[in-house]
Amino acid sequence: MADQANVSPILSQQLLLNVAEQLKLPLLQIARQAEYGRLTNQPDLKTIQATADTALQLLDNYLLGVRLNVSDQQLSIEQVSIASVLYDAAQQLDGFAKSYGVALELNIAGKFGPVMANRQGLQSALVSLGAAMIEALPAQESPDLKIQLATHRCRYGIVAGLYSDVEQLTSKALNQGRRLQAVSRQPLINVSHTSAAGVFVADAILHAMQLKLKTSRHHRLYGLGAVLKPNYQMQLV
């Protein structure tokens, strides 16, 4: 559960600033799409809906992250199937990815037993991360607009995360971003043109579940993922 000694109202304020800055983007997109639709009498309602849905998800996930970090609310830790969480996260991100022309791929090859986490928290963290990576990918001028939701074993446990060919996504960039999130409009300047609030919201949610957000590699791709503990008892059964 959230380590109350680490609870910081300043952290939540930093995150609020970050999220507020981030939310200007979907609102701007909706405003301009609506304006163009009015001028042409052909509003692109599908894109407007996907944009609004993603903004609402970010707000929900932000609230979850802050509540978990600053209140006594706790998420119950349970056995969770990573494959099903990744699948559901992919479903949630699908419309947003399509509107950005990004292909989402699921890569859950291999057998992974259940892990200990909170399903809602883990899914919210992955969706937040995914939305941040999806909107940043075309801005990288990446030739391959593809993001993989994937899982693999590592020496700390099992990593579930999102991966692309953006090699600037390093642990140095992530740690620098964490330090800069309150003072810079672009804490992850080599990765995202926005405040990348989704990354820090995911960080806050995972922190509340005593999990860590880390940069990791998946085959030849670079990404961010949550390090999860396998449920060894279930593996013995």
Partner: protein, 128 residues
């Protein structure tokens, strides 16, 4: 009809601005990064550049320094159309205007599609 380089990192916004400017009879090359914009300008000299300052890796200001270092691009109007509020670079505005030739500033969240088109047309008429 003018040839515009639109430096906009957000793909959804770039699409909308391109559609709107194309409907206003301009030709638009969208670029997500400063490097892509320099390459695009090298291929076809623009009549005007619309620039977001918040880009990945090289910022819009770095783009301006690079862009203005070429003599043939020194008089091309560059309109700052950005998410960065004026207050955040007010002390640098003189540098941006006088040294780097920023011809106008538009705060993106409060600028309509019509407002952008109008600013582009105004800048084009000043150059002509």
């Amino acid at each position: 009809m003018a040839h515009i380089i639109l430096i906009e990192p957000d793909r959804l916004l770039a699409q909308i601005y391109c559609q709107s400017l194309t409907a206003a009879r301009h030709s638009v090359i969208p670029c997500a990064s400063a490097q892509a914009a320099i390459l695009a300008a090298d291929q076809q000299t623009p009549d005007v550049v619309v620039l977001e300052l918040q880009l990945i890796e090289h910022s819009g200001i770095e783009f301006l320094y690079e862009f203005r270092s070429y003599t043939e691009w020194q008089n091309i109007p560059v309109i700052l159309h950005t998410q960065v509020p004026a207050g955040e670079f007010a002390s640098n505005w003189q540098l941006l205007r006088d040294e780097l030739g920023a011809s106008a500033y538009l705060y993106k969240p409060l600028t309509s599609l019509r407002g952008l088109t109008k600013a582009i047309n105004t800048n084009l008429s000043l150059v002509a």
